[in-house]
Amino acid sequence: MVAGRFQTREDRSDDLVDEKALPGRDRQSVMSLVVLLLGLGVGVLVGLLGIGGGVVLVPALVYLLHMDQHVAQGTSLFILLPPLGLGALREYWKQGQVDLRAGVLCAFGILAGGYLGGWIAVPLASRQLKGLFGCFLMLAAVLLWRKPQPQNQRTACAGEEPAGG
């Protein structure tokens, strides 16, 4: 079945986009291109800011592809499984801007915390989750904005060496 290309299973979450929002194969392939470009844009932010990218990806999937909040979050988690930041990491590593020990600690912490977070999120109503996500984004934005002594970046890097090692 040609029309069923994007619906290999009955599971609604397997569709690329909401049927009602974007009917027809042409639009489907246009959307595929949009998704590819979206990935590229998100990737630039990953390297630029050292983040996973999900924070931009989730709202993009919700608004551009009309995904349900839960599906957007699940899909975002899926693309974060492979080591996509590896290319970006290499650039930071070459400059010695990586604290390996702290990184490993953080990886374990995120793994454990992620279990708890997923357990909380799945039973929530989509609307509640969407509202929570919005509030979280605003909070994270405030945290990202304010950072002590931004003017002496270099000295801060050098100064933390004794404490870190």
């Binding site: 390297g47 930071y92 590593w93 990886a107 995120i110 997923g118 990202l144 950072k147």
Partner: protein
């Protein structure tokens, strides 16, 4: 030594908080981890970002992902299409990061994030 241990424990706890946000909101957690490392543990901005990236190399979201996948909340098609772009974009972004004033790029991004968050909260409230 005790100081070092305390610092490590602190980093672990901070990462757990990031992990909860990661599972709850389907994100990598780096968006919290970077400011946490910079604010509480005196990491330089580039070092915080590099460390956040290495923490995201192992599949840290795996447990959260399983919870979503079990409930059918994953679009595999869109997910697979996004993978190559994010990878290539990541290399591009870190190349740009070396040449930019990190303070400016953080501020632009924070403003964008705040606007996105406000929009999401608003539409959820109106639904």
């Amino acid at each position: 030594m005790a100081d070092n241990l305390l610092r490590s424990a602190g980093i672990f706890v901070a990462a757990c908080v990031c992990g909860i946000a990661s599972g709850l909101f389907g994100i990598g957690g780096g968006v919290l981890l970077v400011p946490f490392l910079a604010l509480f543990f005196a990491f330089g901005q580039h070092r915080a970002q590099g460390t956040s990236l290495i923490a995201l190399i192992p599949p840290t979201g795996l447990l959260a992902f399983i919870a979503y996948a079990k409930a059918g909340y994953v679009s595999w098609q869109a997910g697979l299409l996004l993978v190559p772009g994010v990878f290539v974009g990541g290399i591009l972004g870190s190349w740009i990061a070396k040449r930019l004033n990190p303070r400016h790029m953080r501020h632009v991004f924070a403003a964008l994030m705040f606007a996105l968050g406000a929009w999401q909260a608003f539409t959820a409230w109106r639904q």
